[in-house]
C-alpha cells in the first residue's frame, strides 16, 4: 500500500479571503494559473478543477492529448491576496487582473526556468492590469513562485 500524504495547511479557509493559485507538474511541464474567493479556499476549488468538466482537466487534455489522471507530481502553490474588499468581492476585476499578470509574466520567464513549461490556463483579460498595486502583487507572486519552483 502506497500512502499519499498531502499537506494542505489552511488553504481550505476562504472565508473573507481570496487567493491566486498555481497548479504545477514538472514532469508534464505544465502550469495552470487560477484565482478564487471561494469560501472553501483553493483546496475547495481544487475539486471543481478535476471534475469531468473541470477547466484544469479540460485544458490539460487539450494541451497534452491525454488524461490528467496519470499525472503524479501535481503541486498546488497558493498565494493569499490582501484583505481588502476589492480583492475578496464577488466583482472580481482586481483578482482577474492579478491572475492575468501572473500568467503573462510566467509566459515570459518560463524559458529561464528548468524545466520550462506551458501555461495551460486561459485567463480573462481585465481592464485593471495597469493598476500599481495589482502589478506589485502579481510581481511578488511570480518572484516567490520562481524561488519555489
Amino acid at each position: 500500500m502506497n500512502m499519499i500524504e498531502t499537506y494542505i495547511s489552511n488553504i481550505f479557509d476562504g472565508m473573507n479571503k481570496s487567493y491566486i493559485y498555481l497548479w504545477v507538474s514538472k514532469k508534464q511541464k505544465v502550469v495552470y494559473v487560477g484565482m478564487t474567493n471561494s469560501y472553501a479556499g483553493t483546496f475547495g476549488r481544487a475539486g471543481a478543477h478535476v471534475t469531468k468538466k473541470g477547466t484544469l482537466r479540460k485544458r490539460f487534455i487539450e494541451k497534452k492529448g491525454f488524461e490528467i489522471n496519470s499525472v503524479d507530481d501535481f503541486r498546488l502553490f497558493t498565494y493569499l491576496l490582501p484583505n481588502d474588499y476589492k480583492y475578496i468581492s464577488v466583482e472580481k476585476s482586481y483578482r482577474e487582473a492579478i491572475e492575468y499578470l501572473v500568467q503573462k509574466e510566467l509566459q515570459i520567464i518560463r524559458g529561464n526556468l528548468n524545466p520550462t513549461f506551458d501555461v495551460i490556463s486561459w485567463v480573462r483579460q481585465s481592464p485593471r492590469t495597469n493598476n500599481t498595486e495589482v502589478k506589485k502583487i502579481a510581481n511578488e507572486i511570480v518572484l516567490e513562485f520562481i524561488q519555489c519552483y
Binding site: S89, E91, Q125, N131, K135
Partner: protein, 589 residues
C-alpha cells in the same frame, strides 16, 4: 561513375537558370537582393543608377528601363571570387552574419528575373578591376553555364571614376532589362525608398551604411516608429484616441531555448488609427497617415530582423497575428541573431519563414496581451470617432440632466431643523473631501502611478480623479475607473458640481451595459440616469432623514450599495450567455 549502377542524368542549365529567375521576384526585391550582397561585402556606400531605355520619356513610363547598375565600395573580389559569385550555388565561405546569402543563388536569380544579362566588375584594394558577363540567352542556347571575361569599356571606367575613388568595390549591371510588364522608374524608386529604408533601418540609422537610389540618399525608416512611441508612452487601450504612436510592449528579451541560449528581442507599438484624422483634421488627411505609417493589409504584423537586417517584410507568424482589419495598427519587431536560424527557418526567396513549434509557442503566448490591446484600442478609437460624430451617450445624459432639479422634500418628509441641516451638510462635506483624496489615489494607481502628497495634484488632475476625464460636458454623471471598494457606484457631492454619481465603468454590470451593449445608446443613457437618481436619493437621505443618525444611514446605505453591486456582478457572471446582447429573443417568446 564510381558505381556501375549509377547513371549520369545531366542538367539543362539554361532551363534551370530560367526557372530560378521565376521564383517570384519583383523588381525592387531583386534589386534589394543584389544590394544585400554589397552589404555582405562590407560596403559603406551603395549606389543604384537606373538607366532608361528612352531618356526623353518621364519616370512614370512603364517598360522603359535599359539597365540597373548597383555599385558598392565594399571589399571587392578577385577573379576567383568573381567566378565563385557567378557559380550556381556559390560557396558561402564569405557568409557574413548580416546577410541572407545562404544558398548562393541570389545574384543570378535576382538578375535574370529582371534582365537577360549580368555584368560583374570587381576589384580588391590595389588591384585592377576584372569584368565578367553572363548572357541568359546564350546559356539557354548552348545549354551550358558560362561567363565571358571582357575588357573594361569607357562606360565602365567612367562609373569606377565617379563612384569608386578608392579603386576597390563591385559593380553589378543588370542589363538588357525585360521590358514586359516592367514597373516604371518612379514606382521602383518609391518601392526601394520604402523597402531599403525598412530593411536596412539599423544600418542607415547609425550611419554605418549609405544607400543612394537614382541620386537620392535613402533615409532609415523604422516601421514601428519607436521614437514617437518613446515620446508618447504606453498604450492605454481604453483611452487611446488613435492619433499617436504608443508602446504596446517595450523592448523585451524572450528566451527561445535556455540550454542553447537562443534569445529573441521583441517590441510592439500601436500606430495611429487613420480614420480619426478625417474627423479631427480634414478630408484626405487619413490617406496621408496611412501612407506615412504604412498602414494597410500588407504591412501589419511582425517585422523580423536577423542581425539587424530585415528578413521578413511583415509576417503574421503562422497565424499568431490574425487576418483582421482591427490589427492594422499592430506593429511588432523581432530581432534575432544567426544562432536562432533553426527557430526561424528562412525560405530561399528570403521573403518568408517558418517558426519552430517552440518559437511559435513563446511568441504566441507573449503576444496575446498585445494583440488584445491593439484590437481593443483600434475598436475604441473607432468608438471615439463615432463619439465625435454622434455625441457620446454619457455626454447626452449629462446634457439632459443638467438643468433638472430633483424634489427638495418628498411627501411625508418633514423639513429638518436648521442646526441639524448644517451639521449634516458639514458631515457630507467632510466625508466627500476624504473620499476625493481616496479617488485621486485610486485614479493615479489605475494609471500605474503613485502619489506621495495629495496637495501636489493640479486642478486638472483633481477634476480627472473625480470625473474620470477632463470634459466640461460632464457635470453630474461620471464614468470612472475606480470606485471605493470596487462597488458599482457611489454618490459624490461638492459645491461645484452638486449631487453627482461616480459609476465604476469596470464593474461587471457596467461593462455589460457600456461595452457589451455599446451599440444600444438609449440603454446607456437610461443606465446613467438610473444611477444618478440612486446617488441623489442617498444624498437626499443624508440631508433630510433625521430619524436615523447620520452614521447609521451612512453605514446602511453603503452596505446596500455593496450588496447590490455584488448581486449584479454575480448575476452577470452566472447569466453571462443569457443577458443582452447574447440572449436569443425567440427562446423567450
Amino acid at each position: 561513375m564510381n558505381n556501375k549502377n549509377e547513371t549520369e542524368i545531366g542538367i539543362d542549365v539554361g532551363r534551370v537558370l530560367f526557372g530560378l529567375s521565376r521564383i517570384g521576384y519583383t523588381t525592387s526585391s531583386a534589386i534589394c537582393d543584389i544590394i544585400d550582397n554589397s552589404v555582405r561585402a562590407n560596403a559603406k556606400n551603395i549606389y543604384l543608377d537606373i538607366i532608361k531605355a528612352r531618356k526623353n520619356f518621364t519616370d512614370s513610363k512603364r517598360n522603359n528601363v535599359k539597365e540597373y547598375t548597383i555599385i558598392d565600395d565594399g571589399d571587392g573580389m578577385d577573379e576567383e571570387g568573381i567566378l565563385d559569385a557567378l557559380k550556381l550555388g556559390s560557396s558561402n565561405n564569405n557568409y557574413e552574419k548580416n546577410t541572407l546569402a545562404k544558398f548562393g543563388l541570389g545574384l543570378k536569380s535576382a538578375t535574370f528575373s529582371q534582365a537577360d544579362t549580368l555584368q560583374i566588375l570587381s576589384a580588391t584594394k590595389n588591384n585592377e578591376f576584372i569584368k565578367y558577363v553572363i548572357s541568359l540567352q546564350d546559356v539557354i542556347k548552348r545549354k551550358e553555364y558560362f561567363a565571358l571575361k571582357m575588357q573594361l569599356d569607357d562606360y565602365d571606367k567612367e562609373t569606377i571614376k565617379k563612384y569608386l575613388k578608392e579603386g576597390k568595390g563591385t559593380i553589378i549591371r543588370v542589363s538588357d532589362v525585360k521590358n514586359v510588364n516592367h514597373p516604371s522608374v518612379k514606382k521602383t524608386i518609391e518601392d526601394l525608398k520604402l523597402k531599403i529604408g525598412v530593411i536596412y533601418y539599423y544600418f542607415l540609422n547609425d550611419k554605418s551604411l549609405s544607400i543612394n537610389v537614382a541620386g537620392k540618399k535613402i533615409d532609415a525608416l523604422d516601421p514601428l516608429f519607436v521614437n514617437e512611441a518613446n515620446t508618447n508612452g504606453n498604450l492605454n487601450e481604453n483611452t487611446w484616441e488613435g492619433t499617436e504612436v504608443k508602446w504596446i510592449e517595450k523592448t523585451r528579451e524572450l528566451v527561445l531555448d535556455d540550454e542553447e541560449n537562443i534569445k529573441a528581442t521583441i517590441e510592439i507599438t500601436q500606430l495611429p488609427y487613420p480614420p480619426i484624422f478625417k474627423i479631427i483634421k480634414k478630408k484626405g488627411e487619413d490617406r496621408k497617415i496611412r501612407k506615412k505609417y504604412l498602414i494597410g493589409a500588407n504591412n501589419y504584423g511582425f517585422y523580423v530582423y536577423r542581425n539587424k537586417r530585415l528578413i521578413s517584410w511583415v509576417s503574421k507568424l503562422q497565424g499568431i497575428i490574425p487576418t483582421d482589419q482591427d490589427y492594422f495598427s499592430f506593429r511588432g519587431r523581432i530581432l534575432i541573431e544567426d544562432a536562432a536560424d533553426d527557430y526561424f527557418n528562412i525560405d530561399v526567396k528570403k521573403s518568408s519563414m517558418v517558426l519552430s513549434d517552440e518559437a511559435w509557442n513563446v511568441i504566441s503566448d507573449f503576444t496575446q496581451e498585445g494583440k488584445r490591446k491593439s484590437k481593443q484600442a483600434w475598436q475604441n478609437a473607432n468608438k471615439h470617432r463615432k463619439g465625435i460624430i454622434n455625441q457620446q451617450p454619457n455626454e447626452i445624459s449629462n446634457t439632459i440632466i443638467n438643468d433638472f432639479e430633483q424634489l427638495e422634500t418628498l411627501p411625508g418628509d418633514k423639513i429638518i431643523d436648521e442646526d441639524i441641516a448644517i451639521e449634516r451638510q458639514e458631515n457630507i462635506n467632510k466625508d466627500m473631501k476624504e473620499n476625493a483624496i481616496q479617488m485621486a489615489k485610486m485614479t493615479l494607481e489605475d494609471e500605474g502611478g503613485n502619489i506621495s502628497d495629495i496637495n501636489e495634484l493640479t486642478e486638472e488632475q483633481k477634476e480627472k480623479a473625480i470625473k474620470g476625464e477632463v470634459n466640461e460636458r460632464l457635470s453630474k454623471i461620471f464614468r470612472v475607473s475606480s470606485v471605493i471598494d470596487n462597488l458599482l457606484w457611489e454618490p459624490y457631492y461638492d459645491t461645484n458640481y452638486g449631487n453627482c454619481v461616480r459609476i465604476n465603468k469596470f464593474h461587471r454590470f457596467a461593462r455589460l451595459i457600456l461595452e457589451e451593449n455599446q451599440e444600444n445608446q438609449d440603454m446607456q443613457i437610461i443606465f446613467d440616469m438610473l444611477f444618478l437618481q440612486l446617488a441623489d436619493a442617498e444624498l437626499y437621505a443624508y440631508k433630510n432623514i433625521d430619524k436615523y443618525k447620520y452614521d447609521e444611514l451612512k453605514f446602511v446605505l453603503a452596505e446596500y450599495r455593496r450588496i447590490v453591486s455584488e448581486f449584479l456582478a454575480n448575476m452577470c457572471r452566472k447569466l453571462e450567455q443569457e443577458l443582452p446582447p447574447n440572449y436569443i429573443s425567440n427562446e423567450y417568446d
